[in-house]
Amino acid sequence: MIKVTFIEHSGDVHEVETETGSSLMEVAMNNDVPGIDADCGGGCSCATCHVYVDKEWLDKLNPPDAMEESMLGLNTMREDNSRLSCQIDTTDELDGLVVNLPEFQG
């Protein structure tokens, strides 16, 4: 089990304990974290699971692939720490991960 924290734009905090193996998007969906629609079901093709990754965790993640880069690139609210949470696999290394949810997905 690892712990991950989702912080809504409003400041509401969702601390979630989860088994490893699923994507961060699935963790959010399974724990009713609001603001993640995941319209494509995890296919990196709708960009509705956008998160801002807490900076100290960024280099623990595999970098975005070309498709994720394309999807993120269409968003004018993209930041350096923007990721699609369906592309982040939860692993033991990410125990303690903190991500912020963007206002535009509220």
């Binding site: 629609d37 995941a38 079901g41 709708c46 070309a66 498709m67 690139g73 269409l74 004018t76």
Partner: protein, 418 residues
Amino acid sequence: MSVAADNTSGGERDIHDPYAYELDEIDVSLNERFVKNTMWGFFERLRKEDPVHYCAESEFGPYWSVTRFEDIMKVDTNHGVFSSEGGITLADGEADFELPMFIAMDQPKHDEQRRVANPVVGPMNLKEMESIIRTRVQTILDSLPIGETFNWVDKVSIELTTQMLATLFDFPFEDRAKLTRWSDVATAALGTSGINTEEDRQAELLECLTYFTELWNQRVNEPPRGDLISMLAHGEATKNMDPMEYLGNLILLIVGGNDTTRNSLTGGVLALNEFPAEYDKLRADTSLIPNMVAEIIRWQTPLAHMRRIALEDTILNGKHIKKGDKVVMWYVSGNRDESAIPDADKFIIDRAKARNHLSFGFGIHRCMGNKLAEMQIKITWEEIMKRFKNIEVVGEPVRIPSAFVKGYSELPVRLEAW
């Protein structure tokens, strides 16, 4: 069911019967079936027997039909192989009047132009628009006659979406009927909507360009504002567009912001009448509206297809697609694919994972205005449920003769107040 002569076979057979044809003779693009709503059986047969299907001869030349949900996802998300450049409908690319628009471009130009237009339907603008939309919906609904038959398409669906479009463009409100007209002209099949030749179409679209050029000239000389024309006129990636590119992007935003939501607004009324138990569910619990909105958009699928061109030889579900081939993703079919969506032909307002539909497309060309569309439909149903106990469909809908815009020109209804 009507029987029409099928010229390609020489014999007389029922063009609405999917089993009156050999597999390789099937051409799912015929407008007549969309008018009669008989295309479903053809798609069902292709999904079962030949999910990636080659049609060697059609009005639009040879093309592949992709009919299953999963295969459509594969094509839509592989923009490196399946190109949008030059057109996104089956019919595109035949005429010499080419309208460049970002939906019909590949990276990087697509991304640059899309980013300019994107903020108009971004979250900040949406918040501002919510109260405007609600007021307009209320005004329109309050003006409707109770207990009399009228055409829902004209009085509600068209009126509402056209008003919204006028706001997005900051278009002179009294002239807004022009927007509806240009939207129809852009997509009308020849011989409909008073468009008999491509020249007719071009003449009216050039009027559209002239009108919008004046608006551009006003806005370019004023400080940047939040409307689309101003954004295009001041945006780095769009301010030097040539006139045809400007017209192309306008048509994209007019059709994208008009025809689609219009037909979902009508489709929802029809769906609730065809599935009265769902209407009862809605009356009992209006908190189902947001989920119902997604279900309406799936059930209606206001754009039946999108087209791509293969940039290289590739294999899709066992079929060898060659470089240069036209590949058509039939969203209307994928949205009824039982292998991805249980009870896909049923309209279920509290369906699980209702948002998981193809109507907005997936990948880099995914609908940019989907949140606005959903908001418009949601507010409309919230306000409808406050006023009317029943919207009864009292006659047959009249469907648009198009395999692209899947919609209605008439839906006779009668309202019953609470």
